[in-house]
């Protein structure tokens, strides 16, 4: 049993309980301690404040405000938090977003267990980590500039956009983010303007085509 992560304290956020269990066992096997687990983004901030972990490992897509918004919220309060984002998707938009917002690392969930542990080690050591499978797409996305209208969305708008694209209503999204429905409505208005879409179905289509959600 290697102890490469000896003494590292981890907060885990993933809505899939068995996935959390697997990651926890992996981390513990490598000598790390999982000090807190959350099945949604909202719980992460409190867990962080309570435990002050060395690293937060968080899935991008979770119920509630989701990973990206939770990341933003956490970094607003704790700018020094080291966060490794996990995603099941292979697109370039979400990783670029997450890295811009301030995540230290981004890893695909299908990576091998060793790669997962390595990524955790890198980010816990306050260095940056980007999944090799994503590196090219992210680099290309940076080079091609803002050809994609989704890039013009602000962080908040993107978070709202992702939730709406998943089929949640304005009121539900407002509840998720603790915003007033009219604020979410304003975001929605800007989103529609920027993406040039008319309705929820088209919104979802844009998200699907950009690989932001699986349809």
């Amino acid at each position: 049993m290697s102890n490469t992560l000896q003494g590292i304290r981890v907060v885990l956020a993933d809505d899939h309980a068995v996935v959390r269990l697997g990651f926890r066992l992996l981390l513990e096997g490598a000598g790390a301690t999982v000090v807190g687990e959350s099945c949604n983004g909202e719980g992460v901030v409190k867990l962080y404040e309570d435990n002050k972990p060395d690293i937060v490992v968080m899935d991008v897509s979770m119920p509630g405000i989701g990973g990206l918004a939770a990341l933003e919220r956490l970094l607003n309060r704790e700018p020094n938090a080291r966060v490794l984002m996990l995603s099941a998707h292979l697109d370039d938009i979400v990783p670029v977003r997450a890295l811009k917002v301030g995540a230290r690392g981004y890893l695909c969930k299908r990576a091998a267990p060793e790669e997962f542990l390595r990524a955790v080690g890198v980010v816990a050591g306050d260095r940056r980590y980007l999944d090799p499978d994503l590196a090219q797409a992210v680099a290309l996305a940076q080079l091609s500039g803002s050809a994609n209208p989704v890039d013009t969305l602000t962080e908040k708008e993107l978070a709202v956009f992702l939730k709406l694209a998943e089929g949640r209503s304005v009121n539900e999204v407002a509840a998720d983010f603790c915003l007033s429905p009219s604020t979410v409505g304003t975001h929605l208005y800007h989103i529609k303007q920027k993406l040039n879409v008319q309705n929820a179905a088209e919104l979802t289509l844009v998200a699907v085509r950009n690989g932001l959600i699986e349809a």
């Binding site: 049993m1 899939h16 068995v18 269990l21 697997g22 099941a88 969930k109 267990p113 085509r209 950009n210």
Partner: protein
């Protein structure tokens, strides 16, 4: 339908025919007038001649210088001599005697125009009898009255004849042209979209031909409309099928992603944890390592399936194609794939992009399944509003048992329908060097996407 002030065809034809008959009658009547004029002249001439002879005979009876009273006494009982007026004039030009007015149809005169047309002119005949003169005035007025009466009677009959003729022609035409009304109504109904309208057989050959031509036209029209409806229905059905298919794909994607992929991630992490903890127990360590490896492959598999299922955005067509081709090359290293992708600056419509990806997918799948080819050439080019896909291999081509194999053809047929729905065409034929040549051409964006 009939403009005001316009007579119907029947009336116009009847009028023309009646006028023709009337002018014929006019010619006949002018001939009759001519004849009448000649016969009146002859009749009066003859009467005058007889009267003259008779007077000559009388004068020789009365001697060379008769007294006026004797002469008058001789002529008075005669009255008028055969349509001749008679005067006895003295040497001083005094009229001693004038015969009375005619009693036949007395008091009647013919219209002046008729008299000028028909009446012959005669010189009065004078006969000297001593100092006296007897003057004969030939008078055709009674003959004229007879002729006039004849003319009036004939004109009456002629008028009656013309009226009867007009009515008769009108009736006959009415009868003969009645089908025209039917034809008119049938055309009207057809014009309003009632393509089931048909005309009956008519007894008039011309109209019967018209009727048959009309019915033939209506049959073809109805068939064309049926064809259109059928095509429209087929298109709708295929579009619905396509929609259902995409929906199904989305459902499968979601399930694969949410359930299967997460599950595999969990198993992989758990297996990884077992690997960590079983360094000293090879009987557990090795199988756990295998689980890690296999779940990795499973994830790759899921990822590949998700990629296949994911709708392609038009702007990402080139990237999507390259991904697809790269994956295919890895899976089939034994087949040489030559590609030439030349997409213009204008983005391809989303529908077209998806269709192109599916065409290439299906085409390549087909090559692997049925062609037995070792070399494949793919060209995707965008020019002047169209995207063209050309895929050729050096395999078995169209002939050979390929179509009997399950799965073949169906994919290509579905593709053809999809391409047609987007306004494009799909052509399959044999490549010049053997093997199959697939060519698809579709508009870079479908009309429904234009907005």
């Amino acid at each position: 339908m009939r403009k005001p002030g316009q007579f119907s065809l029947h009336t116009r034809i009847s009028v023309v025919l009646t006028l023709l008959a009337a002018s014929l009658l006019l010619v006949l009547s002018s001939l009759w007038l001519h004849g009448t004029r000649a016969s009146i002249r002859e009749e009066v001439e003859a009467a005058t001649r007889v009267a003259e002879q008779w007077l000559t005979a009388l004068s020789s009876e009365l001697g060379s210088r008769p007294q006026a009273e004797r002469v008058i006494g001789a002529v008075r009982p005669l009255g008028r001599i055969r349509a001749n007026g008679l005067e006895v004039i003295a040497a001083d030009s005094a009229v001693l005697y004038r015969s009375p007015a005619p009693t036949y149809k007395s008091g009647r005169v013919v219209p002046g125009w008729f008299a000028t047309l028909v009446a012959p002119t005669f010189e009065p005949r004078k006969l000297a009898l001593g100092d006296l003169h007897i003057v004969l005035y030939p008078d055709s007025s009674r003959a004229l009255i007879d002729a006039w009466d004849d003319l009036i009677e004939m004109a009456g009959w002629a008028l009656l004849l013309l009226v009867l003729m007009f009515v008769g022609i009108h009736r006959a035409l009415d009868q003969a042209l009645r089908p025209l009304d039917l034809v008119m109504r049938a055309l009207d109904r057809t014009g309003h979209g009632r393509f089931d309208t048909r005309l009956p057989d008519f007894s008039t050959p011309e109209l019967d031909r018209l009727s048959r031509a009309f019915n033939g036209m209506a049959d073809r029209l109805a068939a064309a409309v049926d064809d259109n409806v059928r095509l429209e229905t087929e298109r709708e059905v295929s579009q619905r099928l396509q929609g259902r298919l995409e929906e199904e794909r989305r459902d499968i994607s979601r399930e694969l992603h949410d359930e299967l992929a997460q599950g595999i991630t969990a198993v992989r992490a758990l297996a990884g944890a077992i690997v960590q903890r079983t360094q000293e127990q090879p009987s557990l360590h090795v199988p756990a390592q295998s689980i890690v490896a296999v779940t990795g492959e499973m994830q790759e598999g899921v990822r590949a399936i998700l990629h296949r299922l994911r709708p392609v955005a038009g702007a990402g067509l080139e990237v999507a194609l390259e991904r697809l081709l790269a994956g295919w090359r890895i899976q089939h290293p034994d087949i040489a794939l030559q590609t030439e992708i030349d997409l213009g600056d204008r983005p391809v419509g989303d529908d077209a992009a998806q269709a192109i990806i599916r065409i290439v997918q299906e085409g390549l799948t087909n090559v692997v399944r049925h062609a037995g080819a070792s070399r494949v050439e793919l060209q995707v080019t965008q020019r002047t509003g169209w995207v063209e896909v050309s895929l050729s291999d050096n395999g078995r081509g169209l002939h050979g048992g390929a179509s009997s194999q399950p799965g073949c053809g169906l994919g290509l047929a579905g593709m053809g329908e999809r391409i047609a729905a987007l306004g494009g065409q799909l052509v399959l034929d044999n490549a010049p060097g053997g093997g199959l040549h697939l060519r698809a051409r579709l508009p870079e964006r479908s009309t429904s996407e234009e907005s």
